[in-house]
């Protein structure tokens, strides 16, 4: 212990992280860590998600070495792990209890048997709804509704003159914004991004049905200007009592049941994410995790820190300080075994069920060559989903017909894949090795 303390002496760790509530709490609690690890200084770089992603990607791809700890998502971890840009986290200490991590979540961060990042929190998409409004109309939300049912409810509950909109959904363009939701809608309509030969499948009936359904639903029974609304905007709308239903990340539950942040703390209820013709891939899985870039010069100190920030004692500490419902969700099975957490967090059961049901390895009804539900685990995905997301946000505001937009997207995606060499060889060996 003494030896390791000496080895850590005077290390300054630069930590890049997102400005989400759970990460801000980590920063606030990190004073404890610095106290118990004299000589270790933490230098925080807290940025908005997209900006952080740009900074981290350019840093790691050019081996810049600016960061010792990176906060990365379920999309980057397997890609960067496969490139060996991350420091593998093997032989974790017994008291860390790797077996306690959700198996699906751990799987998402593992490449060729090596864990490349440790989960900080994980989320599935779930349906939030207002039980008071449902009761007033005599409606019942099924445990797992279909999108058609969501539409029927939205028609009945949409009441813009009183400032309540039938359903709030993400409309803001971005692969992590509207495309995350739309990916799950397409999956539940039986669609997929690519066929096993990596031919894009955007100009196919399931996509047309899903996108038409989404645009019709959101533009008729949603809030005004839906193309501006991402996760945070919808969270504010729902917390302010303006939405009857909302399908989004389960992590919002912590805010919505907190009376300090939410006007609907006692009125919100939870169901699984909607399905349609299949429930495969109908709920997304996203993991925020902590990883160490291979270019870091202080891997030992960094490893010690990320294990602290994802450990059981840390989760307990957050619960004590901020209320037990604020415990970072979705990473450890033991969180969901604790009765006081399950009682304090009414969304915990739905989150738990959803996280256990998601299967990133088999995300769609028809076979696909990729892993990931709302994401496709190839580097080109960011480019293609950004483009498709922009086009669909445009269609949502009435710029362009859906059929035409999807044709444009189909050819644009095909172009990108062709440029990246996916169709050069009959079955590129390199591609199949990728996660």
């Amino acid at each position: 212990m003494l030896v390791s303390a000496v080895a850590h002496a005077d290390a300054t760790l630069t930590i890049g992280t997102v400005n989400n509530a759970d990460m801000v709490r980590m920063q606030e609690l990190s004073g404890d860590y610095e106290k118990s690890h004299p000589g270790v200084h933490l230098n925080w770089v807290v940025l908005e998600e997209n900006t952080l992603r740009q900074r981290l990607t350019t840093d790691i791809a050019t081996h810049g070495g600016q960061f010792d700890v990176m906060t990365i998502g379920a999309y980057e971890a397997p890609l960067w792990g496969a490139q060996q840009w991350l420091y593998p986290l093997d032989n974790l200490p017994a008291d860390y209890d790797v077996g306690d991590l959700f198996p699906n979540v751990r799987e998402q961060l593992t490449v060729d048997g090596h864990l490349y990042a440790v989960p900080f929190y994980a989320e599935a998409s779930i349906t939030f709804y207002r039980k008071d409004l449902f009761a007033a109309r005599g409606l019942t939300m099924p445990e797992q509704p279909t999108w058609q049912q969501i539409r029927e409810f939205a028609v009945k509950l949409h009441d813009p003159t009183h400032g309540v909109y039938g359903v709030c959904l993400r409309g803001k363009a971005g692969w992590g914004e509207n495309m995350a939701l739309l990916g799950t809608i397409v999956n539940s309509y039986g669609g997929r991004w690519f066929d096993p030969q990596w031919r894009p499948q955007i100009d196919t009936p399931p996509w047309h049905q899903a996108v038409n359904f989404y645009i019709d639903l959101l533009s008729h029974y949603g809030p005004p200007g839906p193309s501006d609304n991402g996760f945070n905007e919808n969270l504010a709308l729902f917390a302010g009592g303006r939405c009857a239903m909302w399908v989004d990340a389960s992590v919002a539950g912590g805010t919505l049941v907190n009376p300090k942040d939410s006007k609907v703390a006692t009125k919100v209820a939870f169901a699984r994410a909607p399905q349609q013709i299949t429930d495969r891939g109908s709920a997304w899985l996203w993991v925020w995790s902590l990883a160490i870039p291979a270019s870091s010069r202080q891997t030992q100190a960094a490893r010690d820190f990320i294990l602290w920030a994802t450990s059981r004692p840390y989760l307990k500490r957050v619960g004590e300080r901020y209320g037990i419902a604020s415990t970072p969700p979705g990473t450890r099975l033991s969180t969901y075994e604790a009765a006081d957490y399950m009682n304090a967090a009414p969304f915990a059961k739905v989150t738990f069920d959803s996280l256990r049901a998601v299967d990133p390895a088999h995300p769609t009804l028809l076979p696909v060559p990729y892993k990931g539900i709302q994401i496709v685990s190839v580097p080109e995905f960011q480019a293609v989903a950004t483009l498709v997301g922009r086009q669909i946000a445009g269609a949502l505001t009435g710029r362009g017909q859906v059929d035409h937009v999807l044709q444009t997207c189909q050819s644009a995606v095909e172009r990108t894949m062709k440029r990246a060499g996916y169709y050069d060889k009959p079955a590129p060996a390199e591609k199949t090795e990728r996660p």
């Binding site: 740009q54 990607t57 350019t58 791809a61 050019t62 890609l79 803001k172 363009a173 005004p224 200007g225 193309s227 501006d228 580097p379 960011q382 480019a383 950004t386 483009l387 922009r390 086009q391 946000a393 445009g394 269609a395 949502l396 505001t397 710029r399 362009g400 444009t408 644009a412 172009r415 440029r419 990246a420 060499g421």
Partner: protein, 292 residues
Amino acid sequence: MSARKSKTHPERLLAQPAILMLFAWMIVPLLMTVYFSTQYFNLLYPKKSSFVGFENFVYFFTYPSFWTSVVNTILLVGSVLAITVVCGVLISVLVDQHFPGQGIVRMLLISPFFVMPTVAALAWKNLLMNPVSGFFAWVAQLFGLTPVNWFADWPLLSVIFVVAWEWLPFAILIFVTALQSMDREQKEAAQMDGARTWDVFWHLTVPHLRRPIAVVVMVEAIFLLNVFAEIFVTTNGGPGDATTNVPFVVYTQALLEFDVGAASAGGLVAVVLANIVAVFLIRLIGKTLTER
């Protein structure tokens, strides 16, 4: 003659280091961009980079948003120039008359120029144009009208407003100063000969402002071709491609798609476009500057 030559020679020598440095400052990034524009270089596949010739340019020109972005750039630059020059001249003439509080009014007119573009854009987006909580929505509701969702329904127009608001003070600053050097006696003489206000404005003020207008157009055009922060903060190039201009496409390529090759090609295309505009403007303005 020879004495003058020997006198200027050491001066030239002394200027060489500065010139060299400025040259390197410009040429090194440019050459790197040219080099990268011929490579397939995606940050997500650093090992796969290879020489691809003109493929990046072909890719950039056939990018679905490219032509929209060129049109948007021209619309943005053209409209903002028109608004700032026309309104700038009119406002400058108005505040050129003496009235109580003239100094304060002039200062207020110029102050938007000191607001950072990102801050200005955020203020417009959240405080003024927001369809729920914005000032314009409040005014519309006061008159029983439906609030306009500016950035979703009129995205390019909204961006033009924001940018014009930022650049109008610059135009006013230049025009007000220019008007102060205008010959008052000439104006008075014209008025005594029975010229109406309009005639004075059209035949004396506007010709006097020709050169300042030329300066404003040239300086603004250079900056307006590169408008990015306002778009990034307000609409993020959307909805669809509605507010995507050429710099924004380059940004999309480089930092959202991490395709350095295509982004470099795009950067070069933007440089060429800017040069075309510059050549036009310099021809145009050079003429007005030398015509006396």
